[in-house]
Symmetry: C2
Subunit: 237 residues, 2 copies
DNA sequence: TTACAGAATTGGTATTACCATCGGTCCTTC
DNA sequence: GAAGGACCGATGGTAATACCAATTCTGTAA
């Protein structure tokens, strides 16, 4: 096979699109190991240098993972890393942190409406299971909270949303961690949050988009008021 | 200088962080040309292969731009290209194209509300100027339409929003172009769109967030009905 | 001063070689 | 027969060298 059939200016990019095609066409699925570099070089009729250039491009985007001696595999769609450019922007302009929280909120509201519309039995079961787990004092609250929102993301049935959310979420977490925001975990808050989560879960189970949207909005407003931006204004320092 | 001082497992990543440091410290600013690959290899005491690996990582993230014979430069924070991972997702699941349009819509609604709240004199003047230009048959409609939305993005005063929008927009355009969607440019549509734009512009000028939000929502619904998804369902082919 | 030709610089590709790590095979041992 | 370990091949990572293609710089001539 000759790689020249693909468009692009340099060979590395052409190799990247060739690999991308393999993934898009389903020849290799997440978790699969793709052909060795030397073999790819032979198949695509380019040098190993160019193959590595193409692979490195995809690895930098988090689509592939290589391990020395073990091969190169297609990464799971989850666990994508954040957008470095976005992180840089937020870093340069601290005020935009509030915007990021804001935008994430409207995306979550959108997602929960979709989830109420499209959620299947498995999704609903998963969500209700998480709600039940929250009554268990043994479980870790923070993890359950994240899982709850991830379950909604999955129930929304939109890979695009899941991707955008993961990008925003990781950037958000990175920034919050970097600036040492304290997320005071008061026990009385858990009760309120658990109650809000229950309302959201019920709306999804009932397939009531309007109610779900509303409940999520209320929840996020509550969280914003009590946690992240408590005492912080929107002004750049 | 020895690059071993930086953390990381492979040399390419260490080179990348070294370059990142140069940018972060202000040694090189956007637009500047950084040292040639051979020189970097010498300075960092690694081979040119490793230098290229590091540079390619940053280039894949859109932070650097190389031109054969011209050198490698730090990219401007604006003009970032889209998210390849997002494009790949949409490519794999054509149905998510509708989601992308949907999400862009709610982001635009959010932005126009912010614009109505925060727009300053310059922003409003710019927007009204574009509205005026739309009456000029000499001007290119498509360009003006894009500029109009960009002007609103700027007026929103959120760099985060501008970044996310540019990511989504470029992916959207890439997909639409790739699948050869026809954007029928009927003259009678121009009149309707111009009218909708005027309403949006007025709401921003009046600093009326509610009205702006509403007008933008109406506009995007109209566009969706008449253009992009006309005759296309949410089913993968 | 301007215009152009040529040299030097720079990123892109190919080839070759070797190292570090992982995976599976095969042999030993109990 | 099963368990453990040594071994060897495969694979990704790094290096050195050479050459190509495109750009940029430079010096000369008009």
């Amino acid at each position: 096979m000759n790689v020249q059939t693909t468009s692009g200016t340099n060979l590395g990019d052409q190799v990247a699109t060739a690999i991308l095609r393999m993934i898009a066409s389903g020849d290799v699925t997440p978790g699969d190991r793709l052909p060795a570099e030397r073999r790819l070089a032979e198949q695509l009729n380019v040098s190993r240098v160019s193959v590595r250039a193409g692979l490195q491009k995809l690895k930098a985007q988090g689509m592939l993972v290589s391990v020395r001696g073990g091969g190169t595999r297609v990464a799971e769609p989850d666990g994508r890393n954040g957008d470095p450019a976005l992180a840089a922007l937020v870093e340069m302009d601290r005020g935009s942190l509030a915007d990021l929280v804001d935008i994430r909120a409207i995306l979550e509201v959108w997602a929960v409406r979709r989830a109420a519309e499209r959620a299947n039995e498995d999704d609903i079961e998963r969500i209700n299971q998480l709600i039940a787990d929250m009554s268990d004092p043994e479980q870790d609250r923070a993890t359950l909270d994240v899982d709850f929102h991830l379950a909604i993301a999955k129930a929304s049935g939109s890979v695009v949303y899941r991707h955008l959310l993961s990008v925003i979420r990781s950037t958000l977490e990175e920034m919050l961690r970097f600036h040492r925001f304290e997320l005071f975990d008061k026990p009385e808050h858990d009760v309120a949050i658990a109650e809000q989560h229950k309302i959201i879960a019920k709306a999804i189970s009932d397939h009531d988009p309007r109610a779900a949207e509303n409940a999520m909005y209320q929840h996020l407003e509550w969280v914003r008021a009590h946690y992240i931006l408590a005492g912080h204004t929107n002004q750049p320092e």
